[in-house]
């Protein structure tokens, strides 16, 4: 089984795009950038509480936003179009930001003003009923839920959406549920999709209830079903691969027009009933997206705040060269928040087998210097583990004392190497060949040399980066990477990254860690049906994997956005690292 990095690619893309001129800039927002004493208070303050809601929490309408009113048009200025809108083909976060108002799912997250999340029934009456220790799950659909043409959303549509995930043209969506429904990672061999007229035997429908029989216990299955890959698709309106161009809406807005890479207009779906929806407020009448606008241009327009741009926002972070100006001139229109991406540097444990060497690498690592090059504090808070503060159960820890010395401790590293008899150890550091990474490479090289390592650097074409580092026999010792969880429980962090089953070619266990104790801990936490207990177990696992020295923690990544003066309640979705369309409103 392999997992992916849906938000993380976006996160890193944003960083790459915004940092091309970082070396020439010195942000005013550089507190705690260098030197010791960096504290983790920010990450702690932003840690999101995730809980499972009741049937009552799943009832609509969504709580009103104070001062908000209906009406108006919101303008979105973005450089890239959505890569997919067919829910089954949605995996990456920025697509989900749009899907949140078009494609409802069985469950989803109700996000409070303080950023805390409650998993609730979206199309379902509650968050599902679990049996057999998590192997059987049932969901019942609400009354009054309709497609944009006015027809009812049925359990057949829910089943059809999931069965479409098996079709040969759906190659981009998530694949967790398919694997669990068939018991095989090669799920297409077990079931070819719904177009031959056959249904999956592991899904049963009766009236308004749909039941899933899984091949393994999945106590957090209700979290997984919040992914848009598992949204329903109307059986009668399925246009197969063409569905991507104009999916049928079940949410508060529908697509009026969409020209790839150019523009998209969303208008109200009159068949959406707010009384069935506990999550979405849907205040604006319309959303106009314009694509192809450079990040810098978009922010300049938002800074100028003229005409229609007063009603605009962007899903791109503010580029480094405009952060100071934005924070000075438009402070009340700038919002900064912790995203769910965690940046780190993997240590290839199949090559660097000596734990003392890994410890020396971690001690010597110039985290502060790297962060400074990437924009300082706005880049993120110093990380101490791999579990994001936005994942349920997060607990602060600092196994390696990196918060005290984020700039690195060459003296301590040298001492560790000496003690282990590994002075002058040759480290092969791989990096993506772009100007920004070239600068970072120099900082890392100098820091490791100062700690007594011999450093060999290898540049890799950025387009094949993941292909190269994903090779089981890659010839690198340390390489950059990171993670964003697909849903906010520990399973989607630790199983893909540290289960020894994933030490395969192009697998997600990039550190190649094979540790029976870790495997056992993952298995135990996965099987735990009490979510509170499971969360505690995942938090303990965060400390346990950090102690193996399989990775060098870098930062919990941050986001900084801005919007026009005539928009209210523009807030970031902690799941998808972008603003929530369904909560913002147009001011009069």
């Amino acid at each position: 089984m392999s997992f992916s990095r849906r938000n993380f690619l976006i996160a890193t893309g944003v960083v790459a795009a915004s940092s091309s001129v970082l070396s020439a800039c010195s942000s005013g927002d550089t507190t705690n950038n260098t030197g010791g004493g960096g504290k983790q208070e920010a990450a702690k303050a932003n840690a999101t509480v995730v809980k499972i809601g009741t049937a009552e929490d799943s009832k609509g309408p969504a709580p009103e936003v104070s001062g908000a009113k209906k009406g108006g048009t919101v303008y979105l200025l973005n450089d890239d179009d959505f890569s997919h809108l067919d829910p089954q083909r949605i995996y990456y976060a920025w697509n989900s930001l749009a899907a949140m108002v078009i494609s409802r799912t069985l469950t989803n997250y109700k996000i409070a003003d303080d950023g805390s999340m409650t998993l609730v029934g979206d199309l379902a009456t509650d968050t599902g009923t679990m049996k057999d220790g998590g192997k059987t799950w049932s969901f019942t659909l609400k009354d009054g839920i309709k497609w944009e043409d006015g027809s009812d959303i049925t359990v057949d549509d829910v089943r059809h959406g999931i069965e479409r995930c098996f079709a040969n043209f759906v190659t981009e969506g998530a694949f967790y549920v398919q694997t669990w429904l068939t018991g095989s990672a090669e799920y297409r061999k077990s079931y070819p999709g719904p177009y031959g007229g056959k249904h999956l035997k592991s899904i049963e429908t009766s009236g308004k209830t749909i039941t899933f029989r899984l091949s393994e216990a999945r106590p957090d299955f209700n979290y997984v079903l919040a992914m848009h890959s598992y949204a329903p698709t109307p059986v009668k309106k399925d246009t197969k691969q063409d569905y991507d161009k104009k999916p049928v809406s079940s949410g508060p807005y529908k697509i009026k027009s969409h020209v790839t890479d150019k523009s998209m207009t969303l208008v109200r779906n009159e068949h959406w009933d707010p009384a069935t929806d506990p999550i979405r407020n849907a205040y604006p009448d319309q959303f106009d997206f314009t694509f192809g606008i450079e990040q810098l241009t978009a922010i300049d327009r938002l800074l100028a705040d003229a005409g229609k741009d007063q009603y605009a926002t962007s899903w791109r972070t503010i580029p480094q060269e405009r952060i100071q100006k934005a924070q000075t001139e438009a402070k009340d229109r700038v919002f900064e928040q912790l995203g769910n991406g965690v940046s780190c540097y993997w240590i290839n444990t199949s090559r660097v087998k000596d734990k003392a060497v890994r410890e020396a690498l971690i001690k010597a690592w110039p985290t502060a210097g790297i962060r400074q090059l990437l924009g300082g504090k706005v880049r993120g808070d110093y990380a101490t583990g791999i579990m994001s503060p936005l994942v349920a159960g997060y607990e602060s820890q600092d196994v390696w004392g990196k918060l005290a010395k984020p700039e690195g401790d060459p003296k301590a590293a040298k001492e560790i190497l000496k003690k282990a008899g590994k002075s002058g150890y040759k480290v092969v550091y791989a990096y993506q060949q772009d100007p920004q990474q070239a600068k970072i490479k120099v900082v890392i090289e100098n820091a490791l040399k100062a700690a007594g390592f011999e450093v060999v650097t290898k540049g890799i074409d950025s387009t094949t980066w993941y292909d190269q580092i994903g090779k089981l026999d890659n010839e690198f010792d340390v390489y950059w990477g990171g993670w964003s969880s697909d849903w906010p429980t520990g399973y989607s962090v630790f199983q893909p990254l540290f289960d020894s089953k994933n030490v395969v070619d192009q697998g997600q266990n990039y550190s190649h860690l094979k540790d029976p104790a870790i495997d056992a801990a993952i298995k135990a936490a996965t099987a735990e049906t009490d979510q509170d207990k499971a969360n505690k177990m995942w938090a303990a696992l965060d400390k346990q994997v950090t102690e193996t020295g399989a990775f060098i923690p870098d930062v919990y990544m941050r986001r900084i956005y801005m919007h026009g003066s005539k928009l209210g309640n523009v807030k970031m979705d902690p799941n998808f690292d972008g603003s929530m369309l369904y909560k913002m409103y147009v001011k009069s």
């Binding site: 790839t260 890479d261 192809g292 005409g307």
Partner: protein, 326 residues
């Protein structure tokens, strides 16, 4: 005239065939896997396999080119992606759309940009050049010549960005550049394109001013102009009927080249003003390694240049009766 056009069109077809073959070879004969490039950064093994199959990577290069070429007349099917009806210039695996459909969608924007800016730079450029020639050696001539020298040394990415900052962001006297279809709202179409027209025209005007002035000065010193004057024809009559007509040839030639280039997409202009025309499409395709789209844009752009040259050649006969199309 008909024979001339038929002959030139046949030549154009051969030229385009060579251009497309060379471009195809360059793109697809690179040492890297073109399917992997087309698949992009967010590539899954399954998507890659589908793209490989659809691109016919296993086939020899000439067979791949033949499939691409025959698709223009017969259309092609891309299992797992969609159909591409004739004329099919390929399928973008990044956009998940037939290449031609995307190009046709962007064309009105690029055409509008070309149309408006052409009107501005032809009127002002040729006008200023004529004025400078008429007032040769006087202050008007010196001002026009100096201004054109300054303008021709400007760069769109500099002047455009500055103009955006001043006129749109700072003083807010011009609309945010953008494209609205003329049929939808002529007023918005004009307002959204005004700044790009003016900036693009500023650069081009300078060339036309200088070209027109030098051609007019040359023509005004020709014997036939002196003869016309000696015969008692009025100054304006000589200037417009004789000298101006004689000077038009080289200007039309330059305009023909510019027309091809501008219809192929003013990349820097479109990028500066975030206008989604063919130029931006080319830039985006190059950035995304979208080879099928890039190939389609190259072929269409080359077609514009070739066709513009045919139009220019045909125009010669109309402008200058001394030229006969044999």
């Amino acid at each position: 005239m008909l024979r001339f056009l038929v002959r030139r069109l046949l030549g154009a077809v051969i030229t385009l065939l060579i251009i497309s073959a060379v471009t195809f070879m360059l793109f697809y004969a690179v040492p890297r896997d073109p399917a992997r490039i087309a698949c992009g950064k967010l590539c899954t093994p399954e998507t890659l396999e589908l793209i490989r199959h659809n691109m016919g990577i296993a086939d020899p290069m000439p067979v791949q080119f033949w499939h691409w070429l025959s698709g223009i007349f017969l259309g092609r099917e891309y299992p797992g992606f969609g159909n591409c009806d004739a004329p099919c210039l390929g399928y973008s695996f990044v956009n998940r759309e037939p290449v031609l459909a995307t190009i046709l969608d962007r064309f009105p924007t690029t055409f509008s940009l070309f149309l408006g800016s052409s009107v501005v730079f032809l009127v002002f450029g040729v006008g200023a050049g004529m004025l400078a020639a008429r007032k040769q050696g006087k202050a008007t001539d010196k001002v026009a010549s100096s201004a054109s020298l300054v303008a021709s040394s400007m760069q769109i990415y500099f002047v455009g960005t500055l103009a955006l900052y001043l006129f749109v962001y700072q003083w807010q006297i011009l609309d945010q550049p953008g494209y609205t279809p003329f049929s939808e709202n002529p007023g918005q179409w004009f307002a959204g394109l005004l700044l790009p027209w003016l900036i693009l025209a500023l650069i081009f005007t300078a060339n036309y001013t200088r070209m027109t002035r030098s051609q007019m000065v040359e023509q005004l010193n020709e014997d036939y102009v002196r003869t016309a004057r000696a015969k008692g024809l009025s100054g304006p009559n000589v200037f417009f009927r004789f000298a101006w007509r004689g000077a038009m040839g080289p200007i039309v030639t330059i305009f023909g080249i510019d027309m091809g280039v501008l219809l192929g997409g003013g990349m820097i202009t479109e990028k500066t003003f975030s206008i989604q025309g063919i130029g931006m499409l080319a830039v985006k395709s190059a950035t995304n390694n979208d080879l099928p789209m890039l190939l389609g844009v190259m072929v269409v752009t080359a077609s514009f240049v070739v066709l513009a040259n045919i139009v220019v050649d045909a125009c010669y006969a109309l402008i200058d009766p001394r030229i006969r199309l044999a």
